[in-house]
């Protein structure tokens, strides 16, 4: 009897591990192994068919920080990050607060509308915005029609406005996405908590800072990490909305790395790997800082 029981337990033990195996093996082979491989390749140089060790070994990394175009792609990416992410998250929070009002009518309608952009693919919306902001596009028609512009403006052909269009497009696509997180978080807060605050004489601003923000902290950190992660990997928009142009003024890190590995011209897997490893370190460090800053449990 005892023996049989042990047999059953061993079977259970084995089953538990077997269940984990396919997912674990795939993640190791498709994620952990490649990142180590990328790190090794980042010390090599030459065309992909006959690569050799770089000398000095860190050559690709030295080159990276002298490469004006790479530095521009980094600063572009950070520009998108620093301007777009805060605006988007604040807007998402405002919308979520509004939609969580118990007296609001047509809630479902508003929520569906704001959420709808998430259903379009990144390539699709990039192309829609590219067309809307084309020199002969609808935006120019509206702005000249209203008398704001005298003549059609080449939005995507001018560095400053091209960046602005990318930021506007990103806001359009991702605000509703983040709102869904906040809305889910807000709906988890008991209404009685707010009632109690009201009785204690707190105004709505105080209620927001002293009740809502602390309770939503994990969600807010989560959205921050996801947005940083996503922005650092921006690719589809840079490729399809502006093609990185004009003259590479809007190119992102991922786009530049892609061009160096699979774009036109000579593929340089060693150099591209060094840059991509740099992106990996950035993502990891920023996520770590975010978790540390957010984790101020008193």
């Amino acid at each position: 009897m005892n023996k049989r029981h042990k047999g059953i337990q061993a079977k259970q033990e084995r089953a538990g591990w077997i269940y984990l195996m396919p997912a674990t093996i795939l993640l190791v082979v498709m994620s952990f192994y490649p990142i180590i491989q990328a790190f090794i390749t980042s010390f090599r140089t030459g065309p992909s068919s006959r690569m050799k060790w770089a000398s000095p070994l860190i050559w690709n990394y030295t080159r990276m920080f002298q490469d004006k175009l790479f530095i521009r792609s980094v600063s572009n990416t950070f520009l998108y990050l620093l301007i777009q992410v805060p605006i988007m998250l604040v807007l998402a929070m405002v919308l979520a607060q509004m939609l969580n009002d118990k007296d609001l009518k047509f809630k479902g309608f508003f929520r569906t509308c704001v959420f709808l952009p998430c259903a379009t693919s990144l390539v699709s919306y990039s192309l829609i915005f590219k067309s809307l902001f084309a020199t002969q596009g609808l935006m120019n028609h509206i702005l000249t029609g209203l008398g704001i512009l005298k003549e059609n403006y080449n939005f995507l052909g001018t560095p400053g406005s091209a960046k602005a269009v990318i930021i506007i497009a990103l806001l359009w696509r991702w605000t509703g996405y983040n709102m869904v997180f906040y809305l889910a978080g807000l709906q988890g807060i008991e209404y009685s908590v707010y009632e109690a605050a009201k009785i204690d004489g707190a105004n709505s601003w105080q209620t927001f800072w002293d009740i809502t923000v602390p309770l939503l902290r994990p969600t807010i950190i989560m959205t921050f990490i996801m947005s940083i992660n996503g922005t650092l990997q921006l690719f589809d928009e840079s490729v399809n909305l502006t093609s990185g142009g004009p003259a590479n003024s809007t190119i992102t890190m991922s786009h530049y790395i892609y061009n160096n590995s699979f774009g036109q011209g000579v593929a340089n897997f060693g150099y591209a790997s060094a840059m991509s490893f740099f992106v990996f370190v950035l993502v990891a460090v920023l996520a770590f800082i975010n978790l540390k800053v957010g984790d101020t449990r008193d």
Partner: protein, 275 residues
């Protein structure tokens, strides 16, 4: 008295209605415009026409003449469907194992697997490309989906949701002689239907919309997906906006349909792992 109160509340909300109205309009308008442009000629689009026109058939003809639309649609459907089915099976099995058979070692392993969320797609693209070409997986459904099947996000989602699974009935089932896999297949799977639905929606959408990796691994024209096809449409020197927006419309319809039918599951799928 109550009536008056209600109208006062609604009056307070007037700025909210206006703001939400504007945001809703701005959210929907680009998609409405895309749909109208698909029915207009490129000249009409450039003239700023924003109502539906009569050029749909014409645009369709041009689109079919320049691109293998049905081929790309079929590819996208097959790849996305295959990825969804396999990813759901692999990740739910792992989530089930991590939560309901958990011990210290498994928890540690889970922590390590979570680190994969930090690995950006662009960093693994070159080694994965080499791997896929070594195995002859370029331009195949395997090349498309293998890197995307197992994700920490989906495993976490199934793990979190497994907490509500009644552990007691597992013991009861074991006593009744149900095998370990039988517990997963005949008990866990039906109970977790809602989680599977949410996971399926989000996985299908991600697979359908994927662009960077498919562009790397699907090098042949016959293997291209819808996002790649519409990117090609826009790449030429003279872009026909009517035809381009019709392509975008085709690329968006499946995900839009899913969105409207399964919005709740989609929202749950997005936020699925945070609980």
């Amino acid at each position: 008295m109550i009536k008056k109160n209600r109208s006062m509340v609604q009056r307070r909300l007037i700025p909210t209605y206006i703001f939400l109205g504007i945001v809703s309009f701005l959210s929907v308008f680009p998609l409405y415009w895309m749909a109208t442009a698909a029915t207009n000629s490129t000249v009409e689009v450039a003239r700023g026409k924003i109502i539906f026109g009569t050029q749909l058939a014409n645009n369709m003809q041009k689109l079919l003449a320049s691109q293998d639309l049905w081929g790309a649609m079929t590819n996208s459907f097959i790849y996305a469907l295959a990825q969804t089915i396999v990813a759901l099976f692999v990740c739910s099995l792992a989530g089930f194992g991590f939560e309901l058979y958990h011990d210290k070692q498994k928890d540690r392993l889970f922590g390590i697997l979570l680190l994969s969320m930090m690995v950006p797609g662009v960093a693994t693209m070159i080694p994965l490309f080499k791997m896929m070409s070594t195995f002859g997986f370029l331009n195949t459904v395997w090349g498309f989906m293998l890197p995307a099947i197992s994700t920490a996000f989906l495993i976490m989602m199934f793990r979190q949701n497994s907490r509500s699974f009644p552990v007691d009935i597992m013991e009861a089932a074991r006593i009744d002689g149900v095998s370990e896999f039988g517990i997963y297949w005949r008990m866990y799977l039906p109970v977790m239907k809602a989680t599977y639905a949410a996971a399926a929606v989000i996985t299908f959408m991600n697979a359908w919309n994927a662009y960077l990796w498919p562009r790397v691994v699907m090098t042949s024209k016959d293997a291209q997906t819808m996002p790649m096809l519409i990117a090609n449409l826009a790449a030429g020197y003279s872009v026909d906006y009517g035809v381009l927006m019709l392509g975008v419309l085709f690329c968006s319809v499946p995900t839009m349909v899913i969105f409207f039918i399964l919005q709740k599951q989609f929202a749950e799928g997005i936020t699925g792992a945070v609980k």
